[in-house]
Subunit: 344 residues, 2 copies
DNA sequence: CCCACTGTTGAGCAATTGATCGCCGCTCCC
DNA sequence: GGGAGCGGCGATCAATTGCTCAACAGTGGG
């Protein structure tokens, strides 16, 4: 309780709060009854809430982590966070997260939505659980090229196809590899109309469905052959902790220049920032630092994550300075540059 | 809980309620976020409250009886009820009630208020505790004549004087006895300008401060000599249980014709009904039936009462039929005749 | 197969609420 | 004593909320 109350104050607050919250009187009526002005009643009600005289408790299902979600949302200035309950093994954990993400998409998508889709094992699980109540006239667009060296259902094109199939929407494929040998080849590819059209559409998406990659030698970027283990080690030395669509960041959220950047065929960070709702889906247990870095980079709007990771990320964030204050300047959700020094 | 919820419904309600009550999102924002229309969010929030997902608890001081007040207010359709905590002995009980009533008056009275004041031991205690924060330019007007046979501080004139003294207001006395020998004398008195003026002003009061009398042989009406013990016994036989300003009612709230009615110098029930806020102050332990009858008669708007009486009145009311359904027709607080059959 | 009926939906509007602002009275320091 | 600063006050207005209503979908009965 932020302030102490005298006995008669306490009594008045309780009386007014009771009238308002239990009896559903209007502030106006209470004001008349108690001989106060309406704004004064408002202030008293405010005070009653702040002083804990009014105690609003949400009887939440025990498997929900609303407070954890709240803390993440506030710490990283996210629009939405969904924390799914813990599971004993990684496989069912991934499924639980994917189910939550699917539910979120079902709620979030409307006709004419355009969804940019990245690769990743977590994202790859989502279609299995995606079951909109009605047909959705959406477009699912690959935001990245494919790789034959990882499981097919992990490739953006496949994820798009599956999501489109289940919702009655349309899949827009990116017929290009995730990476090529030389920058020249990439530039050539980007000039191809089929490739350019798809990436242009992806860049205009309302929603982006993203995985967060780690920096271990088993991560998707390495397994897909995009980066060698040597290159990955070098990235780690440079401080990289994780990536979104191949864009690596350090633990403070600052971009880390990567050797493969100009060989990659995917949306850029700038493209992502312009997308209204960037949804990151994460379930793997070794990733809290990756998640922390990416969240701090400010590209993510919505996070779907398992409970252990959620707790780990917050613990890390508390350890080394609050939430997202990585750089001196970042983008706010609306996309303007804001000076951190003026923020709360 | 009036209805059962499926698991996912429960989850949605909890999520939305949390967003609304804990995060202070607007319904609009929640609707956008969850892909619902705003009215739908409103209905879901409603449901969350009704289903007990949202639990608003007022941390009331333990000495307040807000729920008891509520029940009285609802049962007897009162505008306001103040229940003061129980005391071991009648004397301090009366003081506690008087203190509550004084607090109420302090809140309720404004400059230019006109207060009609009745007699009674309970009302007589009020001035001692009446201490408005600032000078009040009110008029306190006797609503009844006086009697030398009861303690001076129990007479309306004295109560008025004391209240006026303590608030800086003005006392308007009724220079007449509470009762006379014959109706003719009363009528003659009522024609006297001094008497008529005072009663006319009292009839125009905003607030009436009333005691509730019982029907035992020790009640104020008998002690003041207005009624003989024989007459009182006859009244009891007729079913009378209590009075306000000498107007007796039975336990169902119906008026009981009394022998002294036309010898009495006081406001009539009709006058009382026209007064916006009729406040009854009761503390004596033997009076629950009197209070019940008077409340059911519908003249009272505000009740100030001790906790034991409050409980006793409610218990009695529950025993012999609900609250105030005494007669087929009664006045509502606004003063119009309303058909009880159309009420809730 | 059609139609009445019931329950649900969101548009639109009126009431309620939250927030800003200038004002007033108080205190405290000069 | 006088003035600056502060906190609380209520008028006022914009935002939010509650509510009504017409339209609609689903359902069961004719």
């Amino acid at each position: 309780m932020p302030e102490e109350l005298r006995q008669d104050e306490y009594e008045l607050l309780a009386r007014i709060a009771h009238r308002y919250y239990v009896d559903d009187s209007t502030q106006e009526a209470i004001a008349r009854e108690f001989g106060l002005s309406r704004p004064k009643v408002q202030r008293l009600l405010d005070r009653a809430r702040r002083a804990g005289v009014v105690d609003i408790h949400i009887q939440a299902p025990p498997w929900l982590n609303l407070d954890l979600e709240d803390e993440l949302r506030r710490t990283f200035r996210l629009v939405d966070v969904i924390v799914s309950p813990p599971r004993p093994d990684p496989r069912s954990q991934r499924e639980a997260v994917a189910r939550s993400a699917a539910r979120y998409l079902e709620r979030r998508l409307a006709d004419a939505s355009v969804v940019a889709v990245s690769h990743g094992r977590d994202a790859g699980e989502i279609p299995r659980f995606f079951r909109p109540e009605r047909r959705l006239d959406c477009a699912f667009v690959s935001a990245m090229g494919g790789s034959p060296r990882v499981d097919a259902p992990t490739n953006p094109n496949e994820i798009c196809r599956a999501l489109a199939e289940r919702s009655g929407g349309r899949a827009v494929m990116l017929y290009a590899p995730a990476y090529v040998e030389h920058a020249e080849i990439r530039d050539e590819l980007l000039r191809q109309e089929a490739v350019a059209d798809t990436l242009r559409l992806a860049a205009q998406a309302d929603v982006a469905l993203l995985g967060i990659g780690g920096t271990d030698d088993d991560c998707t970027m390495v397994r897909s052959g995009c980066l060698s283990t040597d290159e990955m080690a070098r990235l780690r030395n440079q401080g990289a902790v994780g990536d979104v669509l191949g864009n690596y960041v350090d633990v403070r959220g600052r971009p880390v220049a990567a050797p493969h950047q100009d060989r990659l065929i995917a949306l850029t960070v700038e493209d992502l920032r312009r997308i209204g709702t960037a949804v990151a889906v994460v379930s793997e247990a070794e990733k809290p630092r990756a998640v922390l870095g990416v969240l701090r980079s400010g590209v993510i709007d919505v996070l779907v994550v398992d409970e252990p990771n959620a707790r780990a990320v917050l613990a890390l964030a508390r350890e080394d300075g609050s939430g997202d204050d990585g750089g001196p300047v970042r983008m706010d959700p609306a996309g303007e540059v804001i000076d951190r020094s003026v923020l709360s």
